[in-house]
């Protein structure tokens, strides 16, 4: 799950996979901006087939946070 989240974000944002850290926020790891977050949420929704909440997935989310959030949505 975490690897796929990283792959989606790296392809979308044109950053290296290594720059995305499991336990560091997107803000602190790659300096994501608010428009990139909008784009990221849409791309993750498409890739995983779930509806995500932009209040739960934010600039301050880590890869672990995002993967857990998607996992919980898929489990429902």
């Amino acid at each position: 799950m975490k690897d796929k989240v990283k792959e989606v974000l790296a392809n979308l944002l044109k950053v290296k996979i290594e720059e995305l850290k499991d336990d560091v926020s997107l803000q602190n790891s790659i300096g994501v901006d608010s428009t990139e977050m909008v784009e990221s949420v849409i791309a993750l929704e498409k890739s995983f087939g779930v509806k995500l909440n932009t209040k739960e997935i934010t600039k301050n989310s880590t890869i672990n946070d995002i993967a857990n959030n998607i996992q919980s949505k898929l489990a429902k």
Partner: protein
């Protein structure tokens, strides 16, 4: 008003990227007008242009940023970097509050806009990139340049059709004169070689349809003229107060010493046929520069290659210069690489600066038989002239006139 120093040149054009390559091609009188290859333009009445095919080779912009911006912002970013390098300026050493950006653009970033509009109609709202909102509009390059360098001073984007960038240069000078800023990145950018932008330019009806032989299609002031050819690119210069430029040991490339602008108030598209308002703008620029008409050693023409535009331009020159016009070399070098619309004036100024530096006036291509005789056209080949002051003319639809006087250091 005080003169302002030009201390760096950044050029991104079909005739070359970087001032050395650009000038080598300009002085040799080579045409860079070609059939459009970026998309299938074969069904457009005019499908020729000056295109830039190798921007990536010169670009310092990351893929991450490129996906958020239109090519016209990309061109402005590359031209800004080249201008700063040429000026020997490290922005990080500047007070960001005292650096400004004054750019001109006519039509905005249409490649981004039209691609996203297509996606809107095909895929719905979610198909549209969230960057659309910040990528397409004419001031987007100003924003991108300011973000890239952390520039925070007073800045502006001028949208005034083809006169946009010459106006931006004129206003930038005024702001520097008032000591509001230490330095300004000034000029313009345009990227009209896209399916929708090309369609709009075609609809305007002033483009040459001489597609079978692109290099001879753009023929300003020639009897065989049939309209202009579009081109894409960016010209950006570094402007500073003379004292600051001297204090830091800058290589001063020239001075901007006068600016004038007026409106014809005649027609929503065409200029007034009498050239009187353009003449008034030129006189304003000369007065501003404290120059007499006979002081001007070179005139860079707007040269749209449309009867009414070319003839009224010459009428304006006759009003201002009278009999002495026949002695002043005039040319329209954009015939080599296309009319960069809102960025055209900046490129014209850069060519005039380089012409003065090298004592070599750049030519008008394809001027075989001038419509109006008795004018000192520099045609086909560059010609040696020692020039101390140049006049640059840039005009826009709806009768917008602008004129700039520059001087050799």
């Amino acid at each position: 008003m005080e003169k302002i120093a030009v201390t760096g040149i950044g050029v991104v054009s079909p005739s070359g990227i970087g001032k050395r390559q650009f000038w080598a091609n300009i002085k040799s009188g080579r045409s860079f007008i070609k059939q459009i290859t970026r998309f299938d333009a074969s069904k457009y009445p005019s499908h020729i242009a000056g295109q830039i095919d190798d921007l990536e080779k010169y670009s310092h912009i990351s893929e991450r940023l490129l996906k958020k911006i239109d090519p016209f912002s990309h061109m402005a970013l590359v031209a800004s970097e080249l201008a700063l390098q040429d000026a020997g300026i490290e922005i990080k050493n500047e007070d960001p509050n005292l650096v400004g950006i004054f750019l001109g653009n006519a039509i905005g970033g249409w490649l981004y806009a039209e691609t996203e509009l297509r996606d809107l109609y095909l895929e719905g709202r979610e198909g549209v990139s969230p960057y659309m909102a910040s990528a397409w509009f004419p001031a987007a390059p100003q924003g991108q340049v300011s973000i890239y360098y952390g520039i925070k001073g007073f800045s502006k984007t001028v949208v005034s059709d083809r006169a946009s960038s010459l106006m931006a240069l004129g206003y930038a000078r005024k702001v520097l004169y008032k000591n509001k800023l230490n330095m300004i990145l000034a000029g313009g950018m345009e990227a009209p070689v896209t399916p929708y932008a090309l369609l709009c330019c075609n609809t305007y009806g002033a483009l040459s349809t001489h597609n079978e032989d692109p290099q001879v299609a753009y023929r300003p002031f020639d009897q065989g003229r049939s309209g202009f050819v579009i081109g894409e690119g960016s010209g950006i210069v570094v402007l500073e107060n003379i004292q600051r430029a001297k204090d830091r040991g800058a290589n001063i490339l020239g001075f901007i010493s006068g600016y004038g602008t007026s409106c014809d108030g005649a027609d929503r598209i065409n200029p007034a046929s009498d050239g009187k308002e353009l003449a008034r703008a030129i006189n304003m620029a000369l007065n501003d520069a404290k120059a007499r008409p006979e002081d001007i050693g070179y005139i860079s023409l707007d040269g749209l290659a449309v009867d009414l535009w070319d003839n009224s331009e010459i009428k304006a020159l006759e009003i201002v210069f009278g009999n002495s016009l026949k002695d002043i070399p005039v040319s329209c070098p954009k015939s080599m690489f296309g009319n960069l619309l809102g960025a055209s004036g900046a490129l014209d100024m850069i060519i005039a600066l380089l012409s003065m530096e090298h004592s070599l006036v750049a030519p008008t291509l394809n001027l075989d038989t001038p419509v109006l005789k008795g004018i000192n056209y520099v045609a086909k080949q560059a010609r040696e002239y020692k020039v101390n002051k140049s006049l640059i003319i840039s005009r826009g639809r709806g009768g917008i006139n602008s004129a700039l006087v520059i001087e050799k250091p």
